[in-house]
Amino acid sequence: MKPEQASSPFVAIDHVSMRFGEVEAVRDVSMEIEKGEIFGLVGSDGAGKSTLLRMVATMIKPTAGKILITGMDVVSDKRKVKDLIGYMPQRFGLYPDLTVDENLQFFMDIFGIPRGERAKRREKYLGFSNLLPFTDRPAGALSGGMKQKLGLACVLIHEPSLLILDEPTNGVDPVSRQEFWDILDEMRRVGMTIIVSTAYLDEGEKCNNLAMMHKAQVIDIATPAAIRSSFPTLEAAMISRLQEADQDIARDTFRHHAINQ
């Protein structure tokens, strides 16, 4: 055991950048996520939230910088990291031709859940997501909200210590969204760390900390209350901050051009 592990954050993102050819999707992002918190990523579409999450989930290698999860590097310790995390992409890949039960059983098989545990976990996570009455329905025939809840159940089935969710409630009806967040709350209560990106700012309010991303960069990391500050809502605060940031970028670009000329 390394001595610094006790004091180091659960997830440490350290000066991470990601470039796809000419396009810089994430630029020099640093943040720390503590164990047991729900950490939200908010910001406009194309701000780099998904790319950042994909890097944390070991899907893609950052072009620069380091990401450590409990001290393990997502690139060099990829295998060990994979055992710790559960990642749910924007469009969760379920097998539409398999039933709810078969999908869940398949992910239990892949994660090697031991025989004795299986029935218990199936009850627990399908129960959580209110899917127990639909176990024999093909996943393709579920509603959008139910699909997302089944996706969550499949990701939770191996009880990861870090849950990475990329806009999990996008296009889901309000009731299912509420249910979805109830599950996340419950998971936080048992000590799971959750990183979630969202386009809904009412969901942002439920996070312990928020990182606001804009044009590949993080412009602020604070609690929802601090970001809201004097604004009536989080949404108003964010819009104002983003506009401000755009002006800054325009000014920077202008200055940059002026110096060059």
Binding site: A57, R79, G93, L94, Y95, D97, L98, D109, I110
Partner: protein, 373 residues
């Protein structure tokens, strides 16, 4: 490596395969249709030549010619015409294969000891069939000439003669069925393994489940095995069905060793699985994979010697056929079934198939790996 994980992947694959109703007809009908078409329909055998006859001589000599043709089981005089135009019409409409025109001066010329011409018209649109038909006609006329000679001179020749005793080995009756059916076994294996392997991987990509699997602790080679093993099993079952049909229904002889045949199919499967995996890495959608598969199957079918002899191809194309695994499996299967030869003769094909299979499969796996990591 987790055998459990691979087993569950294979099981999942089978559930999906048989749950999709569209797959059933392909799995059952494809091999059946292939073998029935090539067993019954595709046929180079010449069993009957339809002849139109025009006799302007009407003599004993012309009668002899006509009788010789009608006595031959191969020929069927379907039309007797009087007008050359009518004969042309029959050929044009494809009602007859051969037209025989006997001119008015036939008997006179023969009796004077001159050479008498008769005109043979042949429909040359299907060139290889025509060549065979014409050679049958020539054989009949040859025999007729000898008979005329004997009739006229009717003396004992002092010379002996050469008699060719023809024995066609390995396919004594020259059934083209025996030429095609062994190849069908390999063709069905190729079709099924290529198509289903690439589709199975692409389906995973299209549905977004691939991304899901990548974040699990599953290792890429476990995924590769989980995706190939089901289709190896299915291909082998297809092989058994087609072989049983070939042997018991089409009376294809098995003169060689069945284990050796099985080994060859397994080696061949390494190549086709490799190509299937490779196609899955270069295609984004099932449609693309399907198109690429057929784009591959068409030339490998044509450039294999399945129907068209490799020796007749331009030299550059002949070189290309060395890269075609189907070429080798055909030689092996025909060798084992029809000739009963073993490794002592077929070792070059086995070696080529092994090298080609390992090369293709390794390349595909490396590319697949890179895509996953």
């Amino acid at each position: 490596m987790s055998f459990l994980r691979i087993r569950e992947l294979v099981r999942k694959e089978f559930i999906q395969l048989f749950r999709d109703k569209r797959n059933r007809p392909i799995l059952i009908m494809a091999p059946l249709i292939q073998i029935l078409i090539f067993g019954y329909v595709v046929n180079f055998d010449i069993t009957s030549i339809r002849v139109a006859l025009l006799d302007h001589s009407r003599t004993v000599e012309s009668r002899t010619i006509i009788d010789t043709f009608s006595a031959n089981r191969m020929f069927q005089i379907t039309n007797v015409v009087d007008d050359p135009k009518a004969m042309e019409e029959l050929l044009l409409r494809g009602k007859v294969d051969i037209g025989i025109k006997i001119g008015p001066d036939l008997a006179r010329k023969i009796r004077r000891g001159e050479t008498a011409e008769i005109q043979i018209l042949a429909d040359g649109t299907v060139s290889n069939m025509t060549a065979i038909r014409v050679s049958y006609v020539m054989t009949v006329l040859e025999r007729l000439n000898r008979q005329f000679l004997r009739d006229i001179y009717s003396v004992q020749m002092t010379y002996g003669r050469i008699d060719a005793r023809l024995r066609t080995w390995y396919n004594p009756n020259l059934y083209s069925r025996h030429f095609f059916v062994p190849g069908i076994v390999a063709f069905v294996v190729m079709l099924i393994s290529l198509l289903f392997t690439s589709m199975a991987v692409i389906k995973e990509k299209e549905g977004g489940t691939m991304e899901q699997l990548i974040v699990t602790p599953m290792k890429p080679y476990e995924l590769i095995m989980g995706k190939t093993i089901p289709y190896i099993i299915i291909s082998l079952i297809q092989m058994v069905i087609v072989t049983i049909l070939a042997v018991y229904w089409f009376e294809l002889p098995i003169r060689g060793s069945l284990p050796l045949f099985f080994l060859a199919i397994c080696l061949f499967l390494i190549s086709t699985m490799g190509i299937g995996l490779f196609i899955s890495t270069i295609s984004a959608t099932q449609q693309q994979a399907m198109m690429t598969t057929f784009f591959f199957i068409q030339p490998s079918f044509l450039l294999s010697g399945f129907v068209f002899p490799i020796a007749n191809m331009p030299v550059v194309v002949q070189w290309l056929t060395y890269l075609n695994p189907f070429r080798y499996i055909l030689v092996i299967i025909r060798g084992i079934f029809l000739k009963g030869v073993g490794l002592d003769v077929l070792w070059p094909q086995y070696t080529a198939l092994t090298i080609l299979g390992l090369a293709v499969f390794t390349a595909a796996v490396l590319r697949f790996h890179k895509r996953l990591d």
